[in-house]
């Protein structure tokens, strides 16, 4: 009421909708689903992103062109459109028949969540989109390593694969921890778009609370605070990691300050 008065709103706040049964439980379900979706999508993004970072910097022309096309496509189209693409278009590529039908109507209850195509499409969409961005970040990290290091490593007898494995990837990854933290935060926030293809994450559940209680402001405030809490936790974790893995003397300006 106090807040409503300050904002000049003619609106009765009822915050208890956020923990009353069953709404509180719905929100917790949403948090769980957001975390599962985002973490799994992050694994996909990291694996694909590292591969892209390598291919974009390696001296193999055809793979490099393929990786470039991939990055430009997925980085330069809206995630929302990509989610619709994964959800509505991708299964239609399969030949009409039992396999396509099985994909479309997948519905398996697992202890963690209901495994259905809504979840898989959200996972693929979020993972692939983020992988293009992660790939670019890793490419930048690798390219920021002085060329002489590669030359020195090669002339010491290492093969190109070994150079990537033992020099470029470990050093490059450590350099790009700060921008990677941003990507990691983004994946949690971007996961909210999965509501559009019916995946029951936080945004979905807040809309659900709203549609049952008509207390939209409370529900949206709750969603905002939940995302903020998740993001701040990750930010704290990542900045710890940044300090721990900083390369002394390279990006030590912020990192060594105790």
């Amino acid at each position: 009421m106090l807040l409503a008065g300050f904002l000049g709103l003619q609106y009765d706040f009822r915050w208890s909708v956020l923990w009353e049964s069953p709404f509180g439980y719905w929100l917790l379900q949403g948090v769980k689903n957001t975390i599962i979706l985002s973490l799994l999508a992050w694994v996909i993004a990291l694996v694909l992103g590292i591969a892209l970072g390598i291919l974009r910097t390696a001296p193999w022309r055809v793979p490099r062109a393929v990786a470039t096309a991939y990055v430009e496509f997925f980085r330069n189209t809206p995630l929302l459109v990509q989610l619709f693409f994964w959800y509505f278009a991708v299964p239609q590529i399969l030949p009409a028949g039992p396999i396509r039908d099985a994909v479309n109507s997948l519905n398996v209850d697992t202890p963690l969540l209901t495994l259905n195509y809504e979840f898989l499409a959200a996972l693929a969409g979020l993972g692939v989109y983020t992988s293009a961005r992660v790939g670019e970040t890793i490419r930048a990290g690798i390219q920021s390593i002085p060329r002489q290091q590669t030359e020195a490593a090669l002339s010491s007898g290492l093969s190109l694969v070994q150079v990537y494995r033992h020099v470029l990837i470990p050093v490059g990854l450590r350099i790009v921890i700060p921008p990677m933290a941003t990507e990691f935060l983004s994946i949690f926030k971007n996961s909210s778009l999965a509501v559009t293809i019916g995946f029951a994450e936080i945004t979905f559940q807040t809309q659900q609370v709203n549609s049952y209680t008509f207390k939209g402001l409370e529900a949206v405030t709750a969603a905002t605070l939940i995302y903020l809490a998740i993001s701040l936790t990750i930010a704290a974790f990542m900045s710890r990691m940044e300090r721990q893995y900083a390369i002394p003397g390279l990006i030590a300006r912020g990192a060594t300050r105790e």
Binding site: G5, F6, L9, F88, Q92, G198, F214
Partner: protein, 284 residues
Amino acid sequence: MKKSLGVLLALLFVTTAVAPALAETVLEKINRTGTLTAGTRTASIPFAFINEKNEWIGFSIDFLEAVQARLEKKLGKPIKLDKKEVTPATRIPLVANRTIDVECGSTTYTRGRDETVDFSINFFFTGSQLLVKKGSGVKSLADVAGKRVGAAQGTTNEKAVRAQQPRADLVTFQDHAAGFLALEQGKIVAYVTDGILLAGLAAKTKNPKDYEVVGDLFTKDPYSCIVPENDSKWRDFVSHTLMELIDNGKYFEMYDKWFGEKGVVQYPMSAQVRNFMIMQSMPE
């Protein structure tokens, strides 16, 4: 820290100072701004939808234009009709916080919603049914236990499925177009919304004969416009517009335009509904 606290306090002070100005009635606001901000839908055929020519039209939009015309007469100046897209999930909050002055689309008047917003008199009657592919074997809500069923999030239909058929695997969509596409692709076996909207969705496809609307009405869905709570002058204005249209017969012409033989969806008005509409109109 101290400084930012000061800024915050100053902001709060400013917002408190302007607060009384915001407590104007909808009619006062429309008079001041010269704009009627109306929410409506984009895929509720034939109430409010976007056609092949990219025009945003429909039965509910014709009604909004009638409200606009009556406003112009009352206020004696041109009023702009500013249409905003709403979804089932956004329409009530947007009216409740007065972002939009009125929402006319395909919204069911429920007592629960009436706690938060107000409603005009009814302008249409329908109820929940299921849209299925012909030969699916689904004939009623009882047949979808353990099957994937679609509905638009935040609709009365969605809640009815959860309450009346909890064993169905409910998949929700943000609009009817997406839900219909999912039905077409076999992601769901049935799509649930008001019977009239299902008929509209099927009518718009390439092969309307491949689909059928099945089942008894398992909810009662009288449509009304939503207006903000506690502004009875404005609610009256919207309701009286509809009463005038019923009295002078324009309502029935509008109905015929959208639901008649040449309409987008053929859905002739029953004698019962016609009587109800006439009874709803109070004497002058």
